[in-house]
């Protein structure tokens, strides 16, 4: 009888939600109230930090009057500038993406295919590796002036440098993924008698996907860097062009708005890639 009662007590206490039980425990201590306050802030640290930055920005931009204070527009002014220039920014986004997406996609496709071949076929690796070792560390921004001079239109030049910026990370990561293919997958593919194309497409490619996606994220960041830098040089439209234009006009509220907006575009694009990755890698624990 005693045992049953003890048991029922255990189950009844187990029914209390964990959070409440935790709080009860916390308030029982002398410093409970303060502790409870910090507990409630848990998970909101990021938002709080951002809020702090905006407040600091507001404070600095409105209270300090130094020589170049017009260079430092307040959050409210910037937000207004952002609202006013939103149509122009949207148009700029379109003309940026129309260059970025094809260049990036081409880099992803060629980087994956070539990476898989280099990672699995020894003679291809022996042939390409010396060149890759020389060409991959070259900072891709260095190509921009020459690409603009060499290629007929700005779009092709910008597309090319986006391609170069994204290709190396995708290629290098894919090749690394293919090389590090677990022995057991290789053995199983051989036992099943898979042919080379089947082996590449159905085994090596999916097995390398975790590596490929990290290459694609790095490549995407590089693409944006390449594109905006190229646009600073000589575009007639686009996000980098927007920032450069208003810097030339000394319209700093719009310029800062352009920077913030570009950040948001990159963030959204990265999140999109992250979603695709999560779906494709459902099988990775």
């Amino acid at each position: 009888m005693k045992a049953i009662m003890a048991e029922s007590r255990i189950t009844s206490s187990a029914n209390v939600p964990t959070a409440t039980r935790l709080q009860v425990k916390q308030t029982a201590k002398p410093s409970g109230v303060r502790r409870n306050f910090w507990l409630r802030l848990q998970g909101k640290e990021g938002a709080l930090f951002l809020l702090g930055i905006v407040l600091l920005w507001q404070f600095v931009s409105t209270s300090i009057h130094f020589a170049g204070s017009y260079l430092f527009p307040s959050p409210v002014v910037t937000l207004k500038a952002l609202w006013v220039s939103l149509p122009e920014l949207l148009k700029g986004t379109w003309s940026s993406l129309i260059v970025l997406v094809p260049g990036y996609m081409l880099a992803v496709v060629t980087g994956i295919v070539w990476g898989l071949l280099v990672g699995t076929i020894p003679w291809v690796s022996r042939m390409f590796s010396p060149f890759a070792r020389f060409a991959s560390p070259v900072p891709p921004t260095i190509y921009i002036p020459y690409a603009i001079a060499l290629l007929p239109t700005f779009r092709t030049a910008a597309g090319f440098v986006v391609f170069v910026g994204a290709f190396w990370p995708v290629f290098l990561n894919t090749a690394a993924g293919a090389v590090s293919l677990p022995q057991r997958y290789r053995d199983n593919a051989r036992i099943l008698g898979l042919k080379r194309t089947e082996y590449l497409w159905r085994i090596v490619f999916p097995a390398s996907l975790p590596h490929i996606f990290s290459g694609m994220s790095v490549g995407l960041v590089f693409s944006f860097i390449m594109l905006t830098v190229a646009e600073l040089f000589g575009a007639s439209a686009g996000l980098g062009r927007f920032v450069q234009l208003y810097a030339d006009y000394a319209d700093y509220p719009r310029m800062v708005a352009g920077i913030l907006y570009t950040g948001a575009v990159v963030l959204v694009t990265m999140e999109l890639l992250e979603q695709i990755k999560r779906r494709a890698l459902f099988w990775v624990k």
Partner: protein, 283 residues
């Protein structure tokens, strides 16, 4: 005469698996020395030995995944030069492809064993194979949703789907809990005895009891370098009942004899090593 010493001599030319004076070295270190073994078609043979004795290497050589240093390996008189659909392998680490559903893991094998069929037909057959191993409803699932024992069932189903007359199993149940291990042993015995013609099975294990429960013949391998130290025909009639079998005094005696033989081998090796070392110090 030693009751264990019953070296098999089934040497019908051009039949079964044949290993002749096989030697395998890795980076100059001998791993397997002078292996001679003949396995009849339809026979169930266990390769038994301690970790590191080269039994897995021998199995990989039979599968065609490794290249021998010298000697000869053949199946039905044909020299083994690489992997073939005639020899299916079940590895210790459940070797399904995690990004494919169970059904797709099996249709991958079916596409090789039944190349002129269409996708839908293969999918149906894949479900039949899954049913055979008791996972009929799991066709759409992925390996990560399954326990180790279930994954190993699928791996067995996939090997069956290859339609290989030879099954090579490399400690397939080494990572399983005793209950699952027993169930899967019975599954393998079922598959083996129900197939006609019977499949030839080479089963690698370090578990004496497992080898005595499953095999027609146990081949004992000693280590450093790996070599056959004894062969033994398992005298128990089939079908074997696990509970009655393991409580038989003959079973226990045999188990003890095998363990003793391995102990002897270890002692001999230690003696030989200390002799060599002592000698070297003298010089």
């Amino acid at each position: 005469m030693n009751a264990l010493d019953t070296r098999s001599t089934n040497s019908v030319p051009g039949s079964g698996l044949k290993v002749e004076s096989l030697r395998f070295a890795y980076n100059g270190t001998p791993v397997l020395l002078d292996i001679n073994l003949a396995i009849a078609e339809g026979e169930f043979v266990c390769l038994l030995g301690p970790s590191g004795c080269g039994k897995t290497t021998l199995l990989r050589l039979l599968a065609g995944l490794e290249t021998l240093s010298s000697g000869n390996l053949s199946w039905k008189g044909q020299t083994i030069t690489g992997p073939s659909l005639e020899r299916g392998v079940v590895f210790q680490d459940y070797s399904l492809f995690p990004w494919m559903s169970l059904a797709n893991n099996i249709t991958l094998a079916l596409a090789k064993s039944h190349p002129e069929t269409d996708k839908k037909w293969r999918l149906n057959l894949a479900e039949e194979f899954l049913e055979m191993v008791g996972l009929a409803t799991a066709a759409r699932k992925h390996p990560f949703e399954l326990s180790g024992g279930m994954q190993q069932r699928v791996a067995i189903a996939r090997t069956l789907a290859l339609g290989s007359p030879v099954l090579l199993m490399d400690e397939p149940f080494g990572a399983l809990d005793p209950v699952n291990r027993a169930r899967l042993q019975d599954l393998v015995l079922d598959v083996w005895s129900n197939a006609s013609p019977r499949k030839t099975v080479v089963f690698v294990t370090h578990d004496i009891e497992e080898s005595l429960y499953l095999a027609d013949r146990v081949v004992m391998l000693g280590s450093s370098p790996g070599r056959i130290i004894q062969e033994l025909r398992v005298p128990f009639a089939r079908p074997r009942l696990r509970r009655t079998l393991t409580s038989l005094p003959e079973f226990q005696a045999l188990q003890e004899q095998i363990a003793e033989r391995f102990r002897q081998d270890t002692l001999q090796r230690i003696e030989a090593e200390s002799f060599v070392n002592g000698d070297a110090e003298g010089i």
